[in-house]
Homo-oligomer: 216 residues x 2
DNA sequence: TCCTTATTCTAATAATCGCTAGAATATTGG
DNA sequence: CCAATATTCTAGCGATTATTAGAATAAGGA
């Protein structure tokens, strides 16, 4: 077997890798990055059985990535601190940079045009400073209420079609959803561009923006 | 099963986690961070069978973490670019920060006094500027020749005892080995302190220092 | 206290991954 | 072209991990 003196240390280190090696756990971490959640909410939004969810959350907790808070009979999970969010962003960025099949999958999933034409964080700042842009938050009113990008107006994605007349023809529209791999904003951008407007998606959605704000 | 629309993306993302979930692969990455290596060298230094080593290297290559270069019948592996080195550092740092059992393991492995008393990168710069320090490279002459911290003198760890008289009594001695989890420099520090000198280890050894130089 | 709800713990099965042996490939030197 | 060396590919076994059902725990309300 492996017999170098540092072996036990790498054994421990690998535990972090193991935790990040299950798709479900990475998904849960991204959900938690959008805000505190109960086990049931996470199970629902992650689309997997409750017991399964709980088991994965235990592993995340054992690795020191998430924290729990009890409120009555419910247990609320959240990322343990901001550095977890920052690390998660770095992890995803790094993976996207060098795994070309991952990039291909993202483009296929979100739509090629909407992916490459997406607005990055610094670009958004620039656009907001110029004032030539309307920023649209497509998430639920509750999510918008809890926190949103300053200057954004709330138009939940389901109401987009019926509230189209609130959106201008002569300014760029930037739309964002939860992110980082959410389809909602690319879809909305397609709709808006279909009406002849100038719309772009915010790369990585709310989560990426928040990571940038909180961890630089 | 898992049935949310972003599932295939997280599936791909998890491949990076999987690659980082085996102790052997993390070890190989750290070895590669010290410089280019052939498969045989890696197998030897990692203390595992050749075929096994090759299999792991394939996985690292599939994930875009390492590059290969053929020279005659040998194949030389190296980290694909500097960002891999930087990410690796971030990964280890993050793991050490929040997994207390990992910290405990490191302290036990390297020695408690030598770990907490270790010199960090910025501290070393400060000490070198002041000129009140002797920096000792404990690695092999070949490794020293290829690259070393500016200002370091080469005293391979095996020669330390017989070359003790080259080291001063009135200055702090900072010693480093390959790192980041190498026992050589903590051991040397114990020997030096045993003679009554003032010695400290460089935290993370050559690898940490190089990561700092190359990726900031 | 007892019942209900939310979650975790325990244990068993199913899927995945690491390891290793044998065959295959690629390059160099004769 | 053949032999030698370095490495990779293929396949099967063994170990680890995910999943999930059932029992257990913990808090809140009747």
């Amino acid at each position: 077997m492996t017999d170098f003196p540092e072996a036990p240390i790498y054994e421990h280190l690998a535990r972090l890798g193991k935790v990040l090696s299950a798709p479900v756990r990475l998904r849960l971490l991204d959900l938690l990055d959008q805000g505190e959640c109960t086990v049931e909410e996470l199970a629902q939004r992650g689309g997997l059985p409750l017991k399964n969810t709980s088991a994965h959350l235990q592993q995340l907790r054992a690795a020191g990535l998430v924290a729990t808070r009890r409120e009555g009979t419910r247990i609320h999970y959240s990322l343990r601190d901001r550095e977890v969010s920052g690390f998660l962003g770095r992890f995803q960025e790094f993976a996207e940079e060098r795994m070309s099949d991952l990039r291909a999958e993202i483009e296929e999933h979100l739509g090629r045009d909407e992916t490459v034409g997406a607005v990055t964080g610094p670009e958004l700042e620039e656009l907001l400073r110029g004032g030539e842009v309307v920023l649209v938050d497509l998430r639920s009113p509750e999510e918008y209420e809890e926190d949103h990008v300053p200057g954004a107006v709330s138009i939940p994605s389901r109401q987009l079609e019926e509230r189209l007349d609130e959106l201008p023809w002569d300014m760029t529209i930037v739309a964002y959803c939860q992110g980082p791999y959410c389809v909602v904003s690319p879809r909305a951008v397609r709709v808006l561009n279909g009406t002849g407007r100038q719309a772009r998606s915010l790369r990585g959605g709310y989560v990426h923006w928040k990571r940038r704000r909180d961890t630089g």
